[in-house]
């Protein structure tokens, strides 16, 4: 955005939605929302609404794409036609194919594929409503859904974007900020080991801004990891509570 055009994104040190620079949008996680999937997760980040479903391990089709030594991960990122203001033409496009590939590779280091030779582990991530940062929301949801499906993994993957608006490095851009900002950088990482499994950048950041953004994002990934973990653990203790009540 050139100076002096359109609107300001930062007013009195606050962002348009009232957040500080290093503040995440509220996150809500629900597990096991789809009965017929092996694992599933519904996740909200601000106005983003994402549903992730995991199927498998199951037979890999087409068969020529099977790997005799390990499972193949399939990852489909898809935006519902109604997920954005102007109707999106349904079906895969250049953007969603790219995001699917990047997201799949974000899970490559954690999924223990060698436990399931010849099989496929299928991850479907559907954006029901989107407001920037859908790929990171999708990765967060997929990570929880994979755990729910009982897929062996070394760790959970957490993901968030940082960006630059009005010359400031800020966390977790909204749609307005993304469209009018100077840069957007989604990252995915393993919180326990601080290993980055995916990083993209759109726009320009100086070296210092990049470093600062990365630090910010890594801190946020730890927060998200705690939310993912808490949701998984809570699901289990909650089911006990519900049964206890029913008995009385």
């Amino acid at each position: 955005m050139k100076e002096g055009t359109e609107r300001k994104l930062i007013i009195d040190g606050k962002r348009l939605d009232g957040r500080g620079f290093e503040e995440l949008r509220p996150i809500k996680i629900e597990i096991g929302v789809l009965k017929r999937a092996d694992g599933s997760c519904y996740l909200e980040v601000g106005d983003n609404k994402v549903i992730a479903a995991v199927y498998g391990p199951r037979e890999m089709h087409p068969r020529h794409a099977q790997d005799a030594k390990m499972a193949v991960i399939k990852y489909r990122y898809n935006m519902a036609p109604f997920s954005v203001d102007d109707r999106k033409r349904p079906g895969p496009d250049r953007r969603s194919v790219e995001i699917s590939k990047v997201s799949r590779e974000a899970f490559d280091p954690v999924i223990m594929k060698e436990y399931y030779p010849k099989m496929a582990i299928e991850v479907y991530v559907e954006m029901l409503q989107s407001d920037a940062g859908t790929r990171t929301a999708g990765i967060n949801a997929a990570s929880v859904a994979l755990a729910d499906a009982g897929i062996p993994m070394t760790d959970l993957v957490s993901s968030i974007a940082v960006g630059k608006i009005d010359g400031e490095v800020v966390l977790d851009l909204t749609g307005v900020e993304d469209n009018n900002g100077e840069a957007d950088m989604p990252i995915a990482m393993i919180a326990r080991t601080n290993t980055i499994t995916a990083l993209q950048m759109d726009g320009h950041l100086t070296k210092e801004e990049f470093k600062r953004g990365l630090k910010l994002a890594m801190g946020a990934c730890h927060q998200i990891y705690e939310l993912q973990r808490a949701a998984l653990i809570e699901r289990y203790s909650k089911s006990e509570g519900r049964e206890e009540k029913k008995r009385d």
Binding site: P117, G150, Y236, S239
Partner: protein, 227 residues
């Protein structure tokens, strides 16, 4: 009290005790799946979900899916299919010829079999158990294999209760298929209780509750008969 872990959770420093469902990194034990920690001689993580993976020695209930001489291809409720060789049938019989396999076991027949071998390519060999053919008698209930230990109960307490109170023959296979034989009413009761156990698998005092449920059911029934 059980402890729930998610993939990547630190469990222990004792790498030499690391068992199923865990992995070792830098001499420390971490969880590999979403499950419950079980500490005995080995430290294990028992997964809460996931597909059945056959292991040598497991007794499973399989469905004949296909006949492909000299094997029966068997669906064992796992992502991988198992194979049963014709020689398993040879004992005391004439040699089974090509094309006549379906006379012994046909597609959609259910069998009780033991997993003889699982190789690195997940080729699974089965052997028949003594009373192998389920011959369409009774009923088959399918539950997630992760819930099988709960239906059996600690040292078989749950299954013992079930068999006694439901007056049924019940056989639970490792892959989550359960074979029930008994009168129609008894089988209805047994399958209902099994589903109840599966739905409430993670609650404490389940065996007592199931016992109470079955007792009260019997009482109600007797009352009904008196009237």
């Amino acid at each position: 009290m059980y402890k729930v872990v998610v993939p990547g959770d630190f469990i222990s420093e004792e790498a030499e005790r690391a068992g199923e469902g865990t992995y070792v990194e830098d001499g420390k034990v971490y969880a590999m799946s979403y499950g419950i920690v079980e500490e005995r001689e080995e430290i294990k993580v028992v997964a809460l979900s996931g597909k059945y993976m056959p292991a040598k020695g497991d007794v499973v209930i399989g469905r004949i899916a296909e006949i492909s001489f000299p094997f029966w291809i068997v669906d064992i409720a796992s992502p991988y299919e198992a194979r049963l060789h014709v020689s398993e049938f040879a004992e005391g019989r004439d040699k089974i010829e090509f094309g006549s396999m379906s006379r012994y076991l046909d597609v959609d027949d259910f069998i009780v079999a033991k997993v003889m071998d699982v190789n690195v390519l997940m080729r699974i060999e089965l052997a028949l158990k003594e009373e192998f053919k389920m011959s369409g008698v009774g009923r088959l209930v399918e539950i997630p294999h992760t819930k099988v230990p709960r239906v059996i109960g600690r040292s078989g307490s749950m299954i013992k209760t079930l068999k006694e109170k439901c007056n049924c023959f019940i056989f639970i296979a490792k892959n989550g298929r359960i074979w029930i034989k008994g009168s129609e009413a008894d089988m209805n009761l047994a399958s209902e209780v099994i589903l109840k156990i599966v739905n409430e698998a993670h609650t404490s005092g389940l065996t007592d509750r199931v016992t109470n449920f079955l007792d009260s059911f019997r009482r109600d029934k007797e009352k009904g008969e008196e009237k």
